[in-house]
Symmetry: C2
Subunit: 255 residues, 2 copies
Amino acid sequence: MRNIALRLSYDGSAYHGWQAQASEATVQQTLERAVEKTVQHPVHITGCGRTDAGVHAMRYCANFRTDSAIPTDRIPLALNSRLPADIAVSAAVEAPEDFNAIGSCLQKEYIYKIHNSRIRDPFLDLRACFWPAPLDADVMNAAAAAFVGRHDFAAVRSVGTPTKTTVRTVHWCRVERDGDMITVWVCADGFLYNMVRAIVGTLVYASDGKLSPADIPLLLEKGDRRLTGPTMPPQGLYMHRVWYEGDVGRMMAIP
Amino acid sequence: MRNIALRLSYDGSAYHGWQAQASEATVQQTLERAVEKTVQHPVHITGCGRTDAGVHAMRYCANFRTDSAIPTDRIPLALNSRLPADIAVSAAVEAPEDFNAIGSCLQKEYIYKIHNSRIRDPFLDLRACFWPAPLDADVMNAAAAAFVGRHDFAAVRSVGTPTKTTVRTVHWCRVERDGDMITVWVCADGFLYNMVRAIVGTLVYASDGKLSPADIPLLLEKGDRRLTGPTMPPQGLYMHRVWYEGDVGRMMAIP
């Protein structure tokens, strides 16, 4: 059976996240319906991560199995003709039999966008977190450095998804300002539930002087979610990159 | 009674256009509700133009009358705190007693965005028209020049809104490509219903070789809507600039 890996992007504003639900529209269900119409049989699609309601993805990987003879390079246009404008498949590749979009993932990068301006902008604020109070991106970047490395991240996760361990390795975490837009980049071997949004809330706390960047190692050691910053809203969060070995990795690396 | 002019922008994706309707959410109604909560009495808001469902506005002008003593410079934040994220008021000014956002308007500019790429982009295609076939922006720009000047524009309007005359003066009409994005700018002393979308459809016809830029003067003279290009979809259209005299004009000129 062929194992097809897809590269896609989506604006999550209109969806209740990635994962299929009984009552609400999700990206997974919408994509499954488009694939099923294309390959003419029921499919289950595995995604590289569960994004929450309102979260976006610039580069997302998903895979499904099929006996259909459709040429791989025809799959993106075939799916796009059946998908709404807020989901687009940009590439497809035949993956090894044991490839799995979540299990085979080597590392992931999320970005978080903050529109830091006194005045809202309707063309930005559905896809960034509007934050009217001034933020200091340099202080935030100093605080971000404290998250890099192998740590127990229980202090910056929401309880909800069971997990064997709350230890992860953050490869990078940095903050840059470009005009009114502040972007936070976080890359790790894996993420706990709401981890990026809680890290960004903690960076905002650092900018506001509610904690010092030097406090963060101790806060991580204590592991108490009540001592770190708030979980930031979903519309600023994007799945930005996902890394794999082989052909799927090469497909996902295209800018 | 004070006459307050507002400068606002909106993403029209979620609205059934500007004008109030009995059953559907519109920008006018949403704004009126926010103003009424702020000034504590019923208001009627006059807009600078009726945009259709799905059409956006980067700079839009509206006015309303009130006896409220709220300082003018506090109005934008007061309204924004009551408006959804897809509508934002960026400035307010006290206008002359006889100012009217539509009647006092000197000229308007619309832009139309075409995302000309083989592959869709969810972060562009709700706010631009996705067009996968190659378009020649130079041919479109040559055709655009034929619309400039004082003409009868009956050939590029949809019937629907009664109007005394179908003669208008187009001050400029030009087309530029920036990567995958083609933008059409059209400025006129006034616009007929669907005029910009029909002009852009005619420019697309010119690019496709379905008509020649040299044909356009004769097509305008004939005034037959069936001979020009199609009405393009709404999501590419933006009210871009509106010109007035005096303080309102200065407010609307801020970049």
